[in-house]
Amino acid sequence: MEVKADRVVDARGSYCPGPLMELIKAIREEDVGKIIEVWSSDESSAKDIPEWVKKAGHELVGVFEADGYWRIVVKKTR
């Protein structure tokens, strides 16, 4: 399933924990219900970000592999 993101955070080129910290910042700034997509070229993000999303109680829409990077799509639910 593909959804249109309200905000794309391009964290490619930044290393762990950069992409996660970028998502955390975006989640703080956006309203509930918004969809945020993080782009990361660091493979560990594909595992760490979903883990954090679960702990923080948001919804993981999906993790998609693109050309040399990962797109991790998250919905802010609270």
């Binding site: 290393y15 924990p17 996660l20 955390i24 910042k25 760490d48 954090w52 702990k55 923080a56």
Partner: protein, 379 residues
């Protein structure tokens, strides 16, 4: 005449100036080159000393030196605050004047922004600047037991290992004052482990366990409830405290933000090897000011200053600059009142901490005194 302007009189700026001068001494003497260092305060602070100052082990006087004493006399020293870097016209504008440059070195460092966490200024402490360290020293002297929370409230921050160090030293400080049994120590970190580097986690986590130091991960404070002494997180958790020691969020210098030269955090986009500012041939950035995936540490600024000075000297001499920064960092890690370990790593080599010892601690204590020789470019 070629003009080199260095902005910032911390480790990075001072060392770059002091390494550059001897390489082009003749040209400076012949007035072919002028080096100007602009800084907004007339002294430098040895920030690693805050870790000891809060426990009364180093005094404020030991942590401060006048820039005039540190910077090579061949450098024109200007105490003034830069308000704008006008990159299109190669000019730095300050509160009291303006300085044209052929080469600019950005060494404006980083700063804590506790105001980004509502309630933190009222309810918490930190030791990342002089005012904070002074206030925390007082709070620690008065502490009579209870729960201390050491909380990292954002990444990146200066000296990545300092939060672990302060936690270890606190453990021993409380023991020495017969307060450890009456106290709880909790360390929190934003990501899913207690530190970013696995080899360090493997050493430190068991040491926390042995000492009864608790920890929480994936812990991102969004608010401090100063009245009820609670930290509230984005993950929906709450932690109460009697004394909160925060590592506040950090940002780059205001002048970088105001000049449109930084990313969202105010960090300057920099080439990880050449240290040139992305998109500018005549600008270098180093130290805490950059966006590089390296520690915001004085040691990093030190190794980078060698590279920037070498490349600037080459450019001034009309030689192709070839020095490269390989990501090298060296950090002592105090693991108690009288023991420490250290790590070094670079872009290609992960850290391998050695077992903590008294010897490493004493080397660190000696370095705390010897730092001023480093700043002068001698060590």
């Amino acid at each position: 005449m070629k003009r080199v302007v260095i902005l910032g009189g911390g480790v990075a700026g001072t060392l770059t100036a002091n390494y550059l001068v001897p390489k082009i001494k003749e040209r400076i003497k012949n007035e072919e080159v002028q080096i100007t260092l602009i800084s907004d305060r007339n002294f430098q602070i040895y920030e690693p000393g805050f870790l000891y100052m809060i426990f009364n082990r180093l005094g404020e006087g030991e942590l401060k030196r006048n820039l005039g004493e540190l910077v090579d006399p061949a450098v024109q020293l200007v105490i003034d605050r830069a308000t704008k870097i006008d990159a299109d016209n190669s000019r730095v504008v300050t509160e009291n004047g303006s300085y044209d440059y052929d080469y600019l070195v950005i060494a404006t460092g980083s700063r804590v922004v506790p105001e980004e966490i509502p309630g933190l200024k009222e309810g918490g402490h930190w030791f990342y600047n002089l005012e904070g360290a002074t206030r925390l020293r007082e709070a620690l002297a008065k502490f009579n037991g209870g729960k201390i929370v050491v909380s990292v409230m954002g990444i990146p921050h200066k000296c990545p290992v300092a939060p672990m160090e302060v936690t270890f030293i606190l453990h021993d400080f409380l023991r020495r004052r017969n307060l450890r049994d009456k106290s709880e120590l909790l360390y929190t970190y934003p990501i899913n482990k207690i530190f970013t580097m696995d080899p360090v986690v493997e050493l430190i986590q068991p040491m926390f366990d042995e000492r009864g130091i608790q920890y929480k991960t994936f812990f991102n404070p969004i608010e401090v409830d100063a009245k009820n002494r609670k930290v509230i997180t984005l993950e929906g958790e709450e932690e109460s405290y009697d004394l909160l020691i925060a590592i506040p969020p950090h940002k780059g210098a205001q002048v970088i933000i105001d000049s449109g030269l930084g990313d969202k955090g105010g960090w300057v986009p920099t080439d990880k090897y050449t240290l040139r500012v992305d998109g500018y041939d005549n600008m270098y950035a180093l130290g805490d000011a950059t966006n590089l995936p390296v520690s915001k540490a004085g040691s990093v600024a030190h190794f980078q200053a060698e590279v920037v000075a070498e490349n600037l000297a080459a450019e001034i001499e009309g030689i192709e600059p070839t020095a490269m920064f390989n990501g090298k960092a060296f950090c002592f890690i105090e693991t108690g009142w009288e023991e420490a370990t250290y790590i070094w790593f670079d872009y290609f080599t992960p850290p391998r901490p050695v077992l903590p010892s008294k010897f490493v601690h004493f080397v660190k204590m000696a370095y705390n005194k010897a730092y001023w020789l480093t700043a002068r470019g001698l060590l």
